[in-house]
Symmetry: C2
Subunit: 308 residues, 2 copies
């Protein structure tokens, strides 16, 4: 029996090492050195080649190496295998995301950049008090739910949106097209933490932006596919939103000549809002592997048909 | 009976208006139009003239218009009157302070400035994961205690220091010189939220900075008097701390030619980390006034002898 790591765009040596410390008697392999395909019972995947899974007759489960699973949904072979699928969205990842979002919101709300500018001019300019902003969060899963709770604990009013209408008990959650428009229209900061599915593809489009508050800020930490990029450029020119804070893009790395780079109303970060902690990842994957050997599903099990 | 507002460096019309809405039958006066001094039973003070209180024979209580009371401790007439003293440190003010501090820490830890720099060069540079920093908080009163809890809820390890050794139950709190050195030596971000008293005057000095971690950050949101400014300049040149984030200064506004303005390792904001919410202030002061009429102390009662 063996565990396979296949994440072609990453260096996987450290993960293999951290896993072997937790699973000392396990045969851990790194793609493309997969050895005898019949041995592999558990695969840790990130943007794997689409001909991989059909070669693994004894696969019992897979786990995404990230929080997203759209690279797994894309693979029809996986669906046909009907094995359980897990993902890497532990409590630490969700807290890190919430913390990053709070940092971004506070830096904007409390005008850190203005203070930097005034300091460069050696000017003491008191800050005009502005009301605590309303935070809208699209997506009430592990990541969105934690962000909602963390903002709420700091005294922010939080409005949630999810396809199902479910979310943390203390957060008001809307659903449906009217619910989406309501949340967008009431939020000073609108944050996308949805899973990427056919239903949410392009959800950040001109219809949604037209319903946003003048002067509000759009934050996308979901997936690049959620945002209609041309619609954003048009909307920014109208001030709805006033600014976009983007951590994810249709194409990553963002191409050198993309118009977002030099746009004064766009803040770019290189898909880093939540960075999987290597030790937490190894720990969760080791636990998933042991669960799978016991006939249980891996940690963070998702519904491949729903896409999250 | 009358309520007096005396805050010579502020405009007080709005506060008087907000108070009159809550206390419709109360005679509210704004210094210097104090009217008959015998009428005044409650005074709301911020840097009042030191000859004021001796003119008010029937004063029953005072409240600071801010969270600090060092401008009251400075007035020997107040001590001789032996009236109860309140201050303006409500839960909202404490949460706002905690939120601002989280924003400042996250902006530094998660290198927002580096991302801005890379964006200006149209370069996609992945962020190197860095461990969640340890937060040291000096002062475990309402402000420091809330900051400790808020950082802790986000998964940061928090070390507290207070003169008494008291603090929130879930936070480890040190006291004494050895405790101060311990907290300073273990913290990646060291935050001063102490009251300004003879014991804490100049507490952020070369001894403390020498015990800080190399590469750490010092944040002063207490009072300018806590920081020995020349010691900081010397310490920054040695990288302990790596950076100072300062919201308060010995002299405010910070004088135009002060060396802090152009120092690359110093981040300056104009005493704005927590801004008293006008509505919360009016509400608390109205409640304090009513309490005083009932013979009770004003909200946020402090010990003038302790200085907090």
């Amino acid at each position: 029996m063996a565990l396979l790591i296949c994440a072609p765009d990453r260096s996987n040596q450290q993960l293999a090492h951290d896993l072997s410390e937790r699973l000392p008697n396990t045969d851990i392999r790194i793609w493309p050195e997969i050895g005898r395909p019949e041995d592999i019972v558990f695969a840790v995947l990130w943007k794997h080649p689409k001909d991989l899974l059909s070669q693994l007759p004894n696969l019992k489960a897979v786990s995404s190496l990230g929080a997203g699973i759209e690279h797994l949904v894309d693979d029809p072979t996986l669906a046909s295998k009907a094995v359980p699928v897990g993902r890497m969205a532990g409590p630490k990842l969700a807290l890190d995301m919430a913390t990053w979002l709070i940092g971004r919101v506070v830096a904007d709300w409390r005008v850190f950049d203005e203070h930097t500018h005034h300091q460069s001019q050696q000017r003491w300019v008191p800050e005009t008090p502005r009301a605590t902003p309303v935070i809208g969060i699209l997506g009430m899963g592990q990541m969105g739910g934690q962000a909602a709770l963390s903002f709420s604990q700091l005294g922010f009013q939080v409005l949630g949106f999810s396809q199902s209408g479910h979310g943390p008990k203390t957060i008001p959650v809307w659903s449906g097209d009217a619910g989406l428009e309501h949340v967008a229209s009431q939020s000073d900061y609108l944050i996308c933490l949805l899973p990427l599915t056919p239903q949410t593809q392009g959800i950040l489009n001109k219809t949604l932006m037209a319903s946003m508050k003048a002067g509000s800020v759009l934050i996308n930490v979901g997936r690049g596919g959620h945002l209609h990029e041309q619609d954003l450029l048009d909307a920014l020119s109208k001030g709805k939103p006033r600014r976009a804070i983007l951590d994810v893009f249709q194409q990553e790395p963002l191409p050198a000549h993309h118009p977002f780079w030099k746009h004064e109303q766009i803040v770019i970060s290189p898909h880093c809002a939540s960075i999987t902690d290597p030790q937490e990842a190894a720990e969760r994957l080791a636990q998933s592997y042991e669960a799978v050997l016991r006939g249980e599903p891996p940690l963070g099990e998702v519904d491949l048909a729903l896409g999250y």
